[in-house]
């Protein structure tokens, strides 16, 4: 720690230049949290590398001093995955923003990790291509962060997640080597394992993404319902008819109320649930699906249907949905954004369970969700000035995750485990499951320096492999860690 404070910043400045190393306490505080603001820690030192070689040099210095490091992109993550370590180095990729190559004949682009998600699409849109994963923070979130979190978005129902659109990665391993993980290489699919590992297996320094052809036709529908149940019924029937829309989103009455208050999205009066269905693809196919979805919504009891086939009308429909998270700030002083998944057919049961939890604890919950794939984003509302309300909201939020797991789902569909949900991992996975994942961690990061304390509930040390234990580690003796 002393070395950390005294010697390491100077060594880092020697490698990166003084302007790329931040030690000033005021500036350090800018980086104390990501999008999940209730976990905070001031980083020991912040570095702003510009090349993979610099990242590797930083990581090697961290190894030399036994200091942990955390990579951070735009800091939009919602699980505290980029929460810094007070005793560590925060590697910020904001100076690695080059689009290295656009290769349309091979439908791919090579980019640095600090490039924003949307910038890729903007670079190829005029040529009729786009980058498919579209997390709602896509204007600002970085592609490096998307790789760490395996980000999805509203359209992943049809198009999949980051991992389905990454062809190759250049990474700096936790011991400081620059290595390429290419899905086209023979051998283990290490790129597949790396995407979504939340920074615990190394730092991404270059990404080859696949580009998709812009669909010929896009139609967006908004259907208003008198209650969530009938909206849910429409979703089931759409899927049962063999239609895979690009997106199916639902908002309940409270979420609609918040969105109206915040952005005046002008959704139909009296709607207790709205469904947004987006269809895209070849014009002939979209036309057929549009007719079917319209019929299904009407038969299921939708009392108003709106259709958008141009960009402005489409934006109007999406406006309420896209603003929903921030909008609840208008109707509640404080709130928790939850992220859980259930099998789609369990949605009615789980939503009823959330209603019960809400009533039981006197905590309002607004529901916004990706209905097509059962990914719920309950917004747990509370007044932080009211004594005990925060604790009750936390409890409701945690019980919602229990409901998801009990119904065969997941504790996170897209926000990641990070620091926030590490303690919930044992609810979803057995000790053997987690131990096996830890073996992969140890293969990449035997010293446990790459984003430690994230994803896994218990700090673990990697034993020598193969071979015999060499005495008891002091952390094991003190009960602070388990040997592995």
């Amino acid at each position: 720690m002393t070395e950390m404070a005294d010697v390491l910043p100077g060594r880092l400045a020697g490698v990166l230049g003084a302007d790329a190393v931040i030690t000033d306490p005021v500036r350090l505080r800018t980086y104390e949290c990501d999008g999940l603001t209730y976990h905070r820690a001031t980083p020991g030192v912040v570095v702003l590398p510009e090349t993979a070689e610099q990242v590797a040099a930083v990581v090697r210095l961290c190894n030399e001093y036994g200091v942990p490091f955390v990579a951070r992109g735009a800091g939009t993550g919602l699980s505290g995955g980029a929460l810094p370590r007070t005793d560590g180095v925060l590697l910020v990729t904001s100076r690695m923003r080059r689009i290295v190559e656009i290769d349309l004949p091979n439908r791919r682009a090579v980019v640095e990790p600090g490039v924003t998600n949307l910038a890729i699409t903007e670079a190829v849109r005029d040529q009729g291509y786009y980058y498919a994963p579209d997390p709602s923070s896509q204007q600002v979130c970085s592609i490096g962060g998307n790789v760490a979190e395996n980000s999805g978005g509203a359209h992943c129902l049809k198009y999949g997640f980051t991992v389905n659109h990454v062809e190759a990665l250049e990474i700096v391993t936790p011991d400081g080597d620059i290595v390429t993980l290419d899905t086209r290489d023979p051998g283990y699919d290490l790129a597949g394992a790396f995407v979504g590992s939340e920074g615990t297996l190394g730092v991404t320094t270059k990404i080859t993404v696949r580009l998709s052809r812009t669909p010929e036709s896009v139609i967006t529908l908004l259907a208003a319902f008198r209650d969530v149940e009938t909206g849910g019924l429409a979703v089931s029937r759409i899927i049962a008819e063999g239609i895979v829309p690009a997106a199916i989103e639902m908002m309940d009455a409270l979420a609609i109320e918040a969105a109206e208050a915040a952005v005046r999205c002008g959704y139909p009066q009296g709607a207790a649930a709205v469904l947004i269905v987006e269809l895209d693809g070849p014009a002939a196919e979209v036309a057929g699906q549009f007719a079917a979805v319209t019929r299904i919504c009407e038969e299921s009891g939708s009392f108003e249907l709106r259709t958008a086939d141009g960009p402005e009308e489409r934006a109007a429909i999406w406006k309420g949905r896209k603003s929903a998270f921030a909008a609840v700030g208008r109707i509640s002083p404080a709130y928790i954004v939850q992220d859980g998944v259930v099998p789609r057919t369990a949605l009615p049961r789980v939503l009823a369970g959330i209603d019960r939890l809400s009533a039981e604890h006197g905590i309002r919950v607004a529901n916004v969700f990706h209905a097509g794939d059962g990914n719920l984003h309950p917004l747990v509302l509370f007044d932080d000035a009211e004594p005990g309300a925060g604790e009750r909201a936390e409890l409701v939020s945690a019980r919602i995750l229990d409901l998801c797991v009990e119904n065969g789902g997941s504790i996170t569909g897209e926000h990641g485990v990070g620091v926030d949900k590490a303690r919930y991992m044992p609810r979803m996975f057995s000790k053997d499951d987690l131990d096996t994942m830890q073996l992969v961690r140890c293969a990449f990061d035997p010293r446990g320096l790459s984003n430690p304390g994230k994803v896994f509930p218990t700090p673990r040390l990697c034993g020598e492999v193969p071979g015999v234990r060499k005495g008891v580690h002091p952390l094991v003796a003190s009960g602070k860690a388990e040997q592995f």
């Binding site: 997640f161 023979p186 997941s410 293969a443 994803v455």
Partner: protein, 408 residues
């Protein structure tokens, strides 16, 4: 009694005690000329774990096998004491039609699975070219067919997996929801791992509705450059083909480029593509697998834009080696299969192509004596990390030893 006989007897006694069906290995069980001492037929994940624990206690090398359709793929194993046959892990799959998800045990055949899913108008969008192939074997070898262009490969459709490690540890990752980012994705690691990390016991897949219509169209191309242009035009077409395939029966013949259109109005969308080229008869769907039993099967992976150069390289190298290749496969994805007669010239052909292309060439299968004379997997990136993963998951090197990249 010799030490070896003694330890073999002890291993047999241990295996007998666990209550799993075990039989002695026979001539029909040989893998690349190696006869396993035993064949285990577990009926559950727990039974796989029991077999692997017993095998661990006696340092037995274990080779998982499903339908056996690809057992001749990959380099010969270094050792093979026990064949773990998943044939009896074939309980009725758990199909949640409303969730577009299915969970199946490793020994379920892909045909049986397809039959079950079709009854609900659904499918696993993974084309499997071999009759009798199982869920486990398809995953272990990461086999995929024409529609990889639209749906990706097994790794993109797998959402949950249960595996058993060499020491008998049962581990799951993923789950039965499509959208899920909790924990590491062990499914990605085990897909295409050729049995070297453990045994795949059970898998959960995301499904797709069966397309309303399917329509193949085919074009003829006089040479690789013309074929490459057609492939590019089809791949970029807004009719959104699910597959763009190529078939080149021999270097003297013209090439056939075909495309599959699926979904609503497939006929109309396909018809709109016909002006792109000169129509041809449809080639067989998987020509490269037709006569590979005594021949060699190779996989060429190149960036799609380098297709023409790669095809010409293959033609020239084959001519110099005195070979007549059949090249076919997913042209728009840049993954092609090369079927060759087994021949002395194979090794020279492989080196020549590898030296010239911007991509990878893998010898998937070849008669054993030829296989031993070359490096079937060729170069790869990140081999050090791969070895480290192997060391952690199978420190005793007992799972299918020697079958994978770099001798893993």
């Amino acid at each position: 009694m010799s030490g070896a006989q003694e330890s073999r007897r002890e291993a047999a006694a241990s295996l007998e005690k666990i209550g799993v069906t075990i039989r002695d290995g026979g001539p029909g069980d040989e893998v690349a000329g190696l006869r396993p001492s035993w064949v285990a037929l577990p009926e559950s994940t727990d039974e796989i774990a029991a077999v692997l624990r017993a095998a661990a206690g006696h340092d037995l090398a274990v080779l998982p096998v499903g339908g056996g359709t690809k057992l001749h793929w990959g380099p010969p194993p270094e050792r093979c004491d026990l064949l773990l046959d998943t044939c009896c892990l074939a309980a009725a799959p758990d199909h949640a039609a409303g969730d577009l998800v299915v969970r199946a045990q490793a020994g379920v055949t892909m045909e049986a699975l397809a039959g079950l899913l079709a009854r609900s108008g659904q499918e696993l969008a993974l084309d499997v070219p071999m009759a009798g192939a199982t869920v486990g074997g398809t995953l272990a070898t990461a086999t995929a067919g024409p529609r990889r262009f639209r749906y990706g490969t097994a790794r993109d459709l797998l959402i949950g997996i249960t595996v058993v490690l060499a020491d008998g540890t049962v581990a799951r990752s993923g789950g039965r929801v499509v959208k899920n980012v909790a924990g590491y994705d062990l499914g990605k690691l085990f897909t295409g791992s050729y049995g070297t990390l453990g045994v795949i016991a059970e898998a959960t897949f995301r499904l797709h509705p069966l397309p309303a219509q399917r329509r193949w169209i085919a074009f003829t191309a006089p040479d690789p450059h013309a074929a490459r242009a057609l492939v590019a035009a089809l791949a970029a077409a807004q009719a959104e083909p699910s597959a763009v395939e190529l078939d080149w029966p021999d270097p003297g013949a013209p090439l056939t480029v075909s495309a599959l259109i699926e979904g609503t109005a497939a006929d109309r969308r396909a018809a709109a593509l016909l002006p792109l080229g000169e129509a041809a008869a449809l080639p067989p769907e998987y020509p490269e697998y037709e006569d590979d039993a005594d021949g060699a099967l190779l996989e060429l992976r190149v960036p799609p834009a380098s297709l023409a150069t790669a095809l010409l390289t293959v033609r020239d190298a084959a001519e110099r080696a005195g070979l007549s290749p059949r090249v076919s496969g997913a042209a728009a994805s840049g993954v092609l299969r090369i079927a060759l007669p087994a021949h002395e010239g194979l090794s020279g052909f492989v080196s020549a192509v590898r030296a010239a292309i911007d991509g990878r060439l893998i010898v998937v299968a070849a008669p054993e004596p030829l296989m031993r004379r070359l490096d079937p997997w060729g170069e790869t990136g990140a081999l050090t990390l791969m070895r480290r993963v192997k060391e952690r998951l199978d420190p005793g090197r007992r799972m299918s030893p020697g079958r994978f990249v770099g001798g893993i």
